[in-house]
């Protein structure tokens, strides 16, 4: 006699009927999977979204910034302080293709350049003296300042050792410089510097906002090279040029001893992105996994209860010619259906979460298509795994015992 068989369409129909006959319970059972898959999608989606966000911020500023550090021994100006950067450093670097602006700067130590006052004699400004930064005009351009008043000094001031200064807005306030119309000056030590501009904000080097910035040549004439902290060069490049420029800069500065400089290219965006996201990411993925396990246990539990509850149904089906594998198949399919439904709903909720968060933060929501495709499958697998034991139990129920009820 030919064995009983069950068409897959009938198997699916029976399983759906099994799931739908207790809708409220099915919904509650699927909640665990919904949460698990939802968290999974939300975490991956939010990670992708923030990564994309990191990328955009990165490209606009950080990716176009190169710092060159002076690591050489005493330069030609060694007597007055070590400085490896040549006098025409700005021009040498700005000649390179892809450089927008470049300039050398260092902090002038307080011992040399103090006190800072707004009049030749009289009390110093309240509190500590503002720091004095020696910077070639390229630094000011590379830092992309927003000027409150006046202008920044340029290469002409650099070349002539002009005693001019640009003030950060907070310094200007402390020194009582409110307008440039009267041609005010600040006195560093006893030397007057004409204030040519007040900087309101900068895109790079925010430390300039609290400093008195004077041309590098003037600073060198008065106080010599940098003492203590070495000089650096700030290079602003065009997009994509940074790594190349970082390679070329030491040679362009001093072809005979490029080892006097160390270039710091912008961090690799990929590395930065993974660093930003990986820690949080892993934590949440673990959380998602925990939710999935809870979901699986929930499905397993409910399916097991259903198997026990439906013992007489199992007996009936066996008496109608169902084989053990048909019963296994039915319960396994039911839990798989539950898992898949949970997965689908979870995917929707997760995606929605990403979109809502992105909209609130004014980001561009990014969800990888693979995530969306894989999530329901995760739900399905959860359901199948959870259904294994109950389905096995169901198949072992003997029809004789089942029908006695």
């Amino acid at each position: 006699m030919e064995p009983s068989r069950l068409h897959w369409r009938d198997l699916l129909a029976e399983s759906f009927a099994g799931v739908l006959q207790r809708p409220a319970r099915s919904v509650l059972t699927a909640v665990g999977t919904v949460l698990g898959v939802g968290t999974f999608v939300a975490v991956l989606g939010l990670t992708a979204t923030t990564s994309a966000q990191v990328d955009t911020r990165f490209t606009t500023l950080t990716a176009t910034e190169v710092t060159v550090e002076d690591t050489g021994g005493d330069g030609p100006e060694g007597a007055k302080g070590a400085l490896s950067f040549p006098v025409d450093a700005d021009r040498r670097i700005e000649r390179l293709n892809g450089v927008e602006a470049a300039g050398v700067y260092w902090s002038v130590s307080a011992k040399q350049a103090a006190p800072v006052r707004s009049a030749p004699i009289g009390a110093a400004a309240a509190g500590d003296d503002p720091p004095v930064v020696a910077a070639s005009s390229g630094v000011l351009r590379a830092a992309r300042p927003t000027l409150e008043q006046g202008r920044i000094y340029d290469r002409w001031h650099d070349g002539g050792g002009q005693r001019v200064a640009v003030l950060g807005s907070s310094v200007a306030e402390r020194l009582g410089v409110t307008t440039l119309e009267t041609g005010p000056a600040v006195f560093i030590g006893q030397v007057p510097f004409t204030v040519v501009g007040i900087v309101e904000d900068t895109e790079r080097m925010p430390e300039l906002l609290t400093a008195v910035i004077v041309p590098r040549t003037a600073a060198q004439e008065l106080w010599g090279g940098p003492q203590g902290e070495r000089a650096r060069m700030l290079v602003s490049t065009r997009l994509g040029a940074a790594v190349q420029i970082a390679d070329e800069a030491p040679l362009a500065l001093r072809a005979e001893s490029p080892d006097h400089f160390r270039s710091v290219p912008p961090p690799d965006p990929k590395k930065l992105r993974s660093k930003v996201t990986s820690d949080l990411n892993q934590l949440f993925l673990v959380l998602a996994a925990v939710c999935l396990v809870i979901g699986a246990v929930g499905i397993a539990n409910t399916t097991l209860v259903a198997v026990l509850e439906r013992t007489s149904e199992i007996g009936l089906r066996r008496s109608l010619g169902a084989r053990g594998r048909h019963v296994t198949g039915q319960f396994l399919t039911e839990s798989a259906v539950l898992g898949t439904l949970g997965g689908l709903v979870g995917t929707s909720i997760g995606t929605l979460t990403v979109v809502i968060v992105a909209v609130v933060r004014e980001w561009t929501p990014v969800v990888h298509p693979l995530t969306v495709a894989a999530a329901p499958v995760v739900g399905l697998l959860t359901g199948v795994l959870a259904g294994l034991y109950p389905a096995w139990r169901a198949a072992r129920i003997q029809p004789v015992e089942a029908l006695r009820r």
Binding site: M1, E2, P3, S4, R5, L6, H7, R9, D10, A13, E14, A17, Q21, R22, S312, E313, G315, L316, R317, R318, S319, L320, G321, A322, R323, H326, P399, V400, L403, R404, R405
Partner: protein, 245 residues
């Protein structure tokens, strides 16, 4: 199951026991059904009576292929059930036996038609529409032509048992095996259900009814009594003594 098929077996008994017995392994071993011979021919209406604990359930389980005898040979519709693998027994059970249970065993969330369709799910009829048509036919046959889509919870006890009988009939089995079919029904309803069984018998269906109710047993032309595992026929001759005669 086609008509010529049935005619080929015209001379074959539906149930044939050759020294069939069942002993549950101990300790101590319990001889639930003593080895016995029995022959039930097509279109017979037989009741099996006995007090509870007499071995009625064992008899039902053996005849219904739910349990295998530990001794003897059981031929159902000419097929030796002892040589069949498990899958074969399951298939034979599904196709040749229609069960009617005391507690109906209807799926509460499925309509009458869907419940009847279950009987064809694991067997010959693959097309859903055909199944539905056959199920409606069977429901009409048992007098429920107006309640196709009712849920069992909305049906009376008698109606439920009629749905169960329709389910048992729909796959055109060789044997209608009823276990206390009126046990959960009041006497008037029981009467109408038994009337239905009478009709089915009159139509040529082989019916075996297992019951503890002498009133139910009296309706059948032939009654078998089980007591303490011994099978005896109404004529008073113990079946065990007929072995080999």
């Amino acid at each position: 199951m086609s008509a010529p098929d049935r005619e080929d077996r015209a001379g074959t008994p539906v149930i044939e026991f050759r020294d069939v017995g069942l002993t549950y392994p101990g300790p101590p071993p319990v001889e639930a059904l003593k080895p016995c011979a029995l022959r039930i021919d097509p279109s017979e209406y037989v009741t099996v009576v006995g007090p509870s604990g007499s071995g009625k359930s064992t008899f039902l389980n053996i005849v219904g292929l739910l349990d295998a005898p530990t001794a003897g040979t059981y031929l159902l519709d000419g097929v030796d059930t002892g040589t069949l693998p498990d899958a074969g027994r399951t298939a034979l059970r599904g196709r040749r036996i229609g069960f009617v249970f005391q507690s109906f065993h209807l799926l509460p969330h499925r309509s009458a038609v869907e419940n009847v369709c279950l009987a064809m799910l694991y067997n010959a009829v693959a097309v859903r529409r055909e199944r539905t048509a056959l199920a409606r036919e069977a429901l009409s046959r048992v007098g429920l032509g107006h309640r196709y889509d009712a849920l069992p919870t909305r049906l009376s006890g008698g109606e439920r048992q009629r749905v169960a009988i329709a389910r048992a009939l729909v796959a055109r089995p060789a044997l209608l095996l009823c276990d206390e079919p009126t046990g959960n029904l009041d006497s008037a309803t029981a009467d109408s259900v038994l009337g239905l069984l009478d009709e089915l018998h009159a139509d040529g269906m082989t019916v075996v009814v297992i019951t503890h109710d002498p009133g139910v047993a009296g309706r059948a032309p032939r009654t078998i009594t089980i007591r303490d595992g011994f099978l005896t026929e109404e004529d008073g001759l113990p079946r065990q003594e007929r072995v080999g005669t």
